[in-house]
Amino acid sequence: MAIASAAAESLTQGTPETTENDLQPFFVFHKASSRKSDKKPTGTGKTRRRIDLSPSSPNKTEKSEPDKAGERDEHCNEHLRTEAFELVWSKINSTIKDILRGINTSVFNEIHHWVLESFNATQSLGTPGFTESTRSFPIVTDATSKLLFTGMVLTGNMEFVDDLLTFEDLGLFLRSNGCHVANLSSLDFSAKSGIGGCLRGLLRQFLKATLYEADISILASWYREQENHNTPVVVIIDDMERCCGSVLSDFILMLSEWVVKIPIILLMGIATTLDAPRNLLPSNVLQHLCPSKFILGSPAERMDAVVEAVLVKQCSGFSVGHKVAVFLKNYFLNQDGTLTSFIRALKIACAQHFSMEPLSFILGGLLVEEKQKGEKNGLQPELVLKYTSQLPSYARNQMAEQNGKSLVHRFSELRRLHKCWSTVVLCLYEAGKYNKIRLLDLLCEALNPDLYTSRASNNHVVLEKDVGVPMATDRCIRRKYSTLRKGGFVGQIVRKVRDLPALMLYQLLKSWEKTTVDVLEIHEKVKDLQSLLRFEDGKLRPNVDDISKKHSSRSPLNMEKESKEVNEKAAALIDCLVRDYLRPIECIPLHEIFCFKNVEKLQLALIGDPRRRIQVDLLEFHKILRCGCCSKSGNVLLPSMHDTSIMYTLAQEHGDLINLHDWFQSFKTVVLHPSSKGKHKSKQSPYPKKRKDTHDSENKGEASIQARFCRAVTELQITGLLRMPSRRRPDCVQRVAFGL
């Protein structure tokens, strides 16, 4: 330690703040305080927690009682919100996992079937006798016995990150079906660790022990053990293309030698095409593979399923506003294109919501309540009221009743309205499938409050009492589809429903019937419409007792007309549903509790933009520091400005190379601006040295300016905006970033 402190001392030369710890590669900053059970608010206390040890700190006595109570409330609230987040997110997360697993089930089953077949095929080559199998070298009888069954799993996804979970699931699935499974990744096949790396990985997963001496014969003897025998051994490599080719080749060659003793079956994830193994592996390795092909669900398919479960059906009660949905969509399409990033964005949105919205803890309460009906969720009515009165939508709707009971009523109303909304969105999605409309696009439109208000203002004739009257069709038709006029995805869908062939229409109505089953009022309307149709001899017929009474003759022409009429009615129905029920959550009172709308916060947390932001920090630093001295300068550089800012602004005038001499001179001119003369009196230098007969203070001023110049250059170097002089051009530095 003495050495380090000596070094520190000599290093800093009079900056005593540099501590020993600053020069340690790492150190323990502090250990967890033992007051963990007694959860107190963190972060706002003026005293450092490290110092006060007694739980009832006397330092805090100056705080007034109501203050304390407020703090306690605040803290209690924070704690509730943390819990609520955990509840909600774990619900969302498990829903997503279930959905993805569901999508993969059929492929997984297929793979399992293939694994068993391959295993039987290897076994049929004959199992080694006792003497043979106990020898620690492989058995090779003929060429066929060296074939390694390999499943190529095409992910159809350029980004392997989405498939990590899939392969993990596949591993679990096969394990639960009685296979031995090891999951390896490209990290295990690095050139650096070589064949030993992947072998160690295998041994660690199969033997559950770390062995420094990795040898396949250990694996062979492990497999010989009674409880491990007669079960297929599956090795999954999730991103085969990223593996080091030579290591993977060695690995495959080795496994193929041992395949009789250890019936290993390979599964490799491939993002591109089936050519990938051919590009990576030499032909003498390829001939040992006996490949089969499997295809996973497409990313778009998975995306739709996740959006449906999480944002439309709202498994957790948490929802997002229109702007956030649009942002998520654009983020998915433009930034990353991976489901993983979408889920992460959703998680950040969720966390932001719970950290910012005081009332969000209600969401957790409602979720618990749903699970165990009847039990009180421990909401404190006063607290709820206190916060609700601050909600803008609450104020807008001027709710007179100020008691907890009416609040509970309002929550259930909100949920009911929202249930209707999601049902209609799903109906639209079912119809949109015929037009290949993506759910995310549809969702963004369905969440748009502006569209809703414009729809509502167009149809102000529609009164509340119309809801529930079965089939207001005539009027709907007369109004000629309000949705059509608007265009957009909903308009497209309505148009499609009008043109749908009879058979598809029949299927669509079937799916609507299923979708709407929870919402009675909509379900009845669908049922009514369904009763107009009959499925007969493979042909769709309008129901006799209803329509055909009016049309006495049943000529083909009439048939056509009739079915067209059904189409019209279906279109009218969906149009009507859109108008009456597609009420975005942002148009419902109290939605703030459940709905995250702050798109800016989400964007900032999700996408850091250091390249641009750091430059802006430098160029417009006065906007952040808000100092009185530099704000009004406009574009003129003032000596009071931050040195590095001055330097970077000056650098903008240069090309890619900045001549240090010129740069220094212009920097000096700026900082020696007449108004600031005499401001830079540097402290006594221990080595006063006269130069060219200039007097002392000027020399010191010069030294100080040079030192400031040096520091600014160093700071620009740390931010990576500058490259140091090369040997070829010792008088110039290089600018790295051009433009924001």
């Binding site: 590669p25 952040i624 808000r626 090309g655 740390i718």
Partner: protein, 368 residues
């Protein structure tokens, strides 16, 4: 200059490669490099290096008040940051200015419930394995105090003899159901020179992904995001970005950068050399000492031939083969502690780019 042909070539290549993209961007800028100045740095009238260093340590701070106010304004975000850590996110702080004191203030006021380990990424060499070992020890400690009365069957094997995978598995373990039991790591400059290589970043991301670990890091380089691939960003680090410019001087972070106006600015100073040497093994230090002693006793020679150094090191049982010596030398060269030049008789020889005085001081420091 001609001596270092290899280096020169490399540089030329790099220049050419860089030139293409540079021209593209410059074509967009208006006549940026139209008039190239050829004036020399030496025309400035540089002050004496010691004077410069003295002045550097006494630079009058600007906007002190505003900077303090800015730092204080971030305090209101502390609860939110803690909340996000609890939710399982990592915090990534960026923006101009040193964020060291901000993050440490956050850790000391808002993270008292959790153990905090600080990694100073701005240093030249950091041993990640050591970090992981001490993290594991901390966690084991924490678990032991938690279940003080239950039998402690935790450590069968001392942590420092376990493999990285084992240690990571321990940190990722489900020894505790309490989701709130985690250790926070603060990484100052996760993009710093000691952590910048891909392997270290892989390890860091694996550490960050452990269930018992939360990470708070700062970056300063504009291109830091290029260090990570999608797996690291989305599933391991799980960053929440925060733009928190502080405009505080990079006092410690900038310590290891040469001052551009100092004479021979490319040479390492004795002080930074001492720091680097102290992080190396005793054997490596002794090898360095052997070379330094030779240089001090033969001030007029151009350097020490590698074979001579090897002979000395063999005698002192510092190295067993040329290979080990070379690995030490590579380490020295990487940190610019040692350079090679062509001797007048044609063979390569080693020298330390420091003055005799600085070298003596350095030897005194490392032999303490």
């Amino acid at each position: 200059m001609e001596i270092n042909n290899g280096v020169e070539d490399e540089e030329l290549e790099e220049e050419e490669e860089f030139g293409f993209s540079r021209n593209y961007f410059l074509a967009k800028e208006l006549g940026g490099s139209g008039k190239k100045s050829t004036r020399k740095l030496s025309d400035i009238g540089l002050v004496d290096e010691q004077e410069l260093r003295a002045a550097a340590s006494n630079i009058e701070p600007k906007h002190e008040k505003e900077i303090v106010a800015l730092m204080n304004s971030y305090k209101s975000m502390y609860p939110k940051w803690v909340f996000e850590l609890r939710c399982g996110f990592g915090l990534l702080m960026y923006g101009f200015g040193s964020k060291k004191s901000l993050i440490e203030d956050f850790a000391s006021t808002a993270l008292t419930e959790y153990s905090v380990v600080v990694i100073n990424g701005y240093l030249q060499t950091i041993n990640v394995k050591q970090v992981v070992i001490s993290l594991a020890e901390l966690l084991a400690d924490q678990l032991r105090t938690k279940r003080a009365n239950t039998s402690g069957n935790l450590s069968k094997q001392p942590f420092n003899s376990r493999s990285m995978d084992d240690l990571l598995a321990f940190l990722n373990g489900s020894q505790t159901e309490d989701k709130d039991c985690f250790i926070c790591i603060v990484v100052h400059n996760i993009d710093g020179p000691g952590l910048r290589d891909p392997e270290t970043q892989q390890y860091l991301s694996q550490i960050a992904a452990c269930s018992c670990i939360r990470i708070i890091a700062s970056i300063d380089h504009v291109n830091s995001a290029l260090l990570w691939d999608k797996k690291m960003v989305h599933t391991q680090f799980n960053w929440c970005w925060y733009h928190v410019p502080t405009f505080a001087p990079y006092r410690i972070e900038g310590m290891f950068f040469p001052m551009i106006l100092a004479h021979g600015s490319t040479a390492q100073t004795a002080k930074t050399a001492a720091i680097v040497l102290q992080s190396l093994t005793p054997n490596a230090q002794s090898v360095f000492r052997g070379l330094a002693e030779h240089q001090l006793s033969h001030p007029d020679e151009e350097g020490m031939p590698i074979n001579d150094l090897y002979a000395i090191c063999r005698e002192r049982f510092l190295v067993s083969s040329q290979v080990t010596l070379n690995s030490h030398l590579t380490e020295f060269k990487d940190h610019e502690l040692v350079k090679t030049r062509r001797h007048s008789d044609g063979q390569d020889c080693l020298y330390i780019p420091l003055t005799a005085e600085a070298l003596k001081k350095l030897l005194a420091e490392i032999s303490q």
